[in-house]
């Protein structure tokens, strides 16, 4: 007697049985529902991608070398270390908190690594491990301050901003600058190592195959479970676009040096973070705590542990980013990780589309945001514009990004998309 009313056994897939649901079939339907989402204020990555295109065209019209293979390679390479720091900021913002000290932490971690490797002649691995663990330790202390004592994140990270800048100066002592040895593996990794063409195309093929394969697998499981499978035509189109887009980029960057190891590491971290946020229980809980902490707590989520892991991860990313930056710049100095690094990392996350109010954003916002900022910096440098203008332009872009976020938030709430 249960079979007739069992929702999963009916012929219509369970998730489309409600007649009020507007259903979009085929590719046309996918386009239509995408358009409806945009009008409803769910802009996703669109403003950033659009902005990036505008920025590219403007700089290209002023200075044709902007879109040269060589310049694009250098943009990707310089974007990577701060992008790694920005990835940590995305996590903190997802909880609706802020970490103003990532720059100082990155500088302090890099300086500790450099002192160990150069002055104390430890191996590079030991130096890097200690540097990264310093980041983790700092984040853990932040988390304790937040969860046990209730210090607002704005305050303890502002304190950290000052304190770890001091720690950087202290560790460097009267040396001022420590130059990493020329044969240092870190320097080589961050500056001179690039994927060969074969490696790049193989990696590309693997990425696209995994994407399409996982979608096809999900489609089979969904059909077996009596739910509508994802639109395979759309998946195919996305797969082809992904293949074509990344393929073209790989070809174009390959004219010069190609994809740097540094950027590939950053991109891998972004993809990994995205998967962890979307597909694991921990990621789900991060979004839940950022959306409604009280609801998360009542659902039995250990809210304190989420805060702990996020603050620790953010500072760890900061330390890693600082070490990579040191490798790229070949040295650590008293100005490592000062205001510029800090604000660029935070601005990148926000420009990329992570909301300042918590619960909304993706790992990809770190990638997109840092590309925008790096493109602006690079373009203005090419045009020999003074750094004073660069700061003003960056400020304006940040303001624009937050304004777009606020407007789309309002549209979302009036069209019922939260």
């Amino acid at each position: 007697m249960s079979s007739t009313l069992d929702p999963t056994s009916s012929r219509v897939a369970a998730d489309v049985a409600d007649e009020r649901l507007i259903q979009d079939r085929g590719l046309g339907g996918a386009v239509a529902s995408g358009w409806a989402r945009l009008r409803g204020g769910e802009l996703g990555a669109l403003p950033v991608v659009f902005g990036l295109a505008v920025i590219s065209l403007v700089f290209y019209s002023q200075e044709a070398t902007f879109l040269s293979s060589r310049n694009l390679v250098s943009i990707t390479q310089f974007a990577a270390p701060i992008g790694v720091i920005s990835l940590g900021i995305v996590l903190v913002l997802l909880l609706g908190e802020i970490d103003l000290s990532v720059g100082s932490v990155s500088g302090f971690a890099a300086a500790s690594m450099a002192v160990l490797v150069v002055n104390k002649s430890q191996s590079l691995w030991v130096g890097m491990l200690v540097g990264i663990l310093i980041g983790t330790a700092i984040g853990s202390v932040y988390a304790l301050l937040y969860t046990r004592i209730g210090v607002p994140s704005f305050v303890f990270s502002l304190a950290g901003l000052l304190a770890f800048q001091g720690a950087l100066l202290y560790v460097l002592g009267d040396q001022g600058t420590i130059v990493l040895p020329i044969d240092s593996g870190l320097r080589e990794f961050a500056r001179d190592r690039f994927l060969t063409d074969v490696q790049a195309y193989v990696l590309l093929a693997v990425v696209v195959a995994v994407y399409v394969g996982s979608q096809a697998l999900a489609a089979r499981r969904r059909r077996a479970a009596g739910l509508t499978p994802p639109n395979m035509a759309l998946v195919a189109v996305k797969g082809v676009l992904l293949l074509a887009g990344l393929g073209f980029l790989t070809y174009y960057l390959g004219i010069d040096r190609g994809w740097g190891y540094l950027f590939v590491l950053f991109a891998a971290l972004v993809v990994a973070m995205d998967l962890v946020l979307r597909k694991t229980r921990w990621g789900r809980h991060v979004y839940a705590v950022g959306g409604n902490e009280e609801a998360a707590r009542r659902s039995g989520i250990k809210v304190g542990r989420i805060y702990f892991s996020v603050f620790a991860a953010a500072s760890t990313f900061a330390a890693l980013g600082g070490i990579l930056l040191a490798g790229q710049l070949t040295s650590v100095s008293q100005s490592s990780g000062t205001t510029d690094t800090n604000l660029t990392a935070i601005a990148a996350a926000v420009i990329g589309g992570t909301s300042l109010f918590g619960g909304r954003g993706t790992a990809y916002s770190a990638l997109l945001g840092i590309m925008v900022l790096q493109a602006i910096q690079n373009g203005l440098n090419l045009m020999n514009v003074d750094s004073s203008v660069r700061f003003m332009v960056t400020g304006a872009v940040l303001l624009l990004a937050v304004a777009i976020d606020s407007v789309s938030r309002r549209v979302r709430s009036s069209s019922g998309r939260g």
Partner: protein
């Protein structure tokens, strides 16, 4: 009959008492919030808990849901004496609570909210497909009107949110559901929807404890009405025997009013009258 009925059917038989409290005392400093309170709920029964502000309803709900532990008193659940260690322990025992403010995450979709804190996994990865399937099953057994389980909670109406909150209470396969003011912020149509939902819970053999201020709602769905006043059991009615006047009198404790005087006369004349139970 739906799958849920079968599942619950393997539990207590219809009409068997699943949860009973006796002699519950709870004191906060100088305030005696609950004094010798008793309450019973059977499988497939809706018991309404009514009372004025400060009558002890919320305290009693929190005692049952494990937020407070009582100073004295016995809680018998499914024939066994239990102590509820906390909200999670209550949930694990099979006592689910839907709090007044629902506690949903606006930024997450319906599936994510239904399974929040008890997500299904395949290895380390969330099993979205199984959760979505189970979500539809739960919503269908409640005959719930939710257009899609993949839209954020923010885009649902008040009644639909209440539906999601109630459906979430059912994820852990409970035997008793506590609903704290489920219709407080809802319009007429949405209230009716939630009342339907409560009846559906009863049909599936769950014990339902409904806390409400709204006499009309209570009289519409409850089988029995328990009145608390100043932390004590003030009265208990079978719904079909109780008039609104009698309820109001019991809630306000206006024992010298006209309604009470009439009840007194009835009590002397007819010992089977509901008020004679007191």
């Amino acid at each position: 009959m739906s799958a849920m009925t079968q599942r619950v059917g393997s539990g207590p038989a219809q009409g068997e008492v699943v949860l009973s409290l006796a002699g519950v005392h709870k004191r906060f400093g100088a305030v005696q919030a609950l004094t010798d309170v008793h309450l019973e709920v059977a499988a497939g029964e809706v018991v309404a808990l009514v009372g004025d502000n400060g009558a002890g309803k919320s305290t009693l709900v929190k005692v049952i849901s494990g937020v407070y532990s009582p100073d004295a008193g016995d809680i018998v659940f499914g024939g066994r004496m239990i102590t509820v260690g906390g909200p999670a322990a209550a949930q694990a025992l099979g006592i689910a609570t839907v709090f007044q403010d629902l506690a949903l995450c606006d930024n997450l979709d319906v599936v994510a909210n239904l399974f929040l804190g008890q997500e299904l996994r395949r290895g380390p990865v969330l099993d979205e497909i199984e959760m979505e399937k189970e979500a539809w099953r739960l919503l269908r057994t409640l005959s719930a009107k939710i257009p899609s389980v993949r839209i954020p909670i923010a885009s649902l109406s008040g009644g639909q949110r209440q539906t999601v909150a109630i459906a979430r209470a059912l994820v852990g396969d409970p035997r008793v559901v506590l609903l704290d003011e489920p219709t407080a912020a809802l319009g007429v149509a949405q209230t009716a929807e939630v009342l339907n939902l409560i009846e559906r819970l009863r049909e599936t053999g769950l014990g339902v404890i409904l806390v409400s201020h709204n006499m009309a709602d209570v009289q519409a769905v409850a089988d029995r009405i328990v009145v608390l006043r100043l932390g004590r059991n003030a009265a208990e009615f079978r719904t079909e025997d109780a008039t609104t006047e009698q309820l109001v009198a019991a809630i306000t404790g206006a024992s010298d009013n006209v309604v009470a005087a009439r009840a007194d006369r009835h009590r002397q004349a007819d010992p089977t009258h509901p008020e004679a139970e007191l």
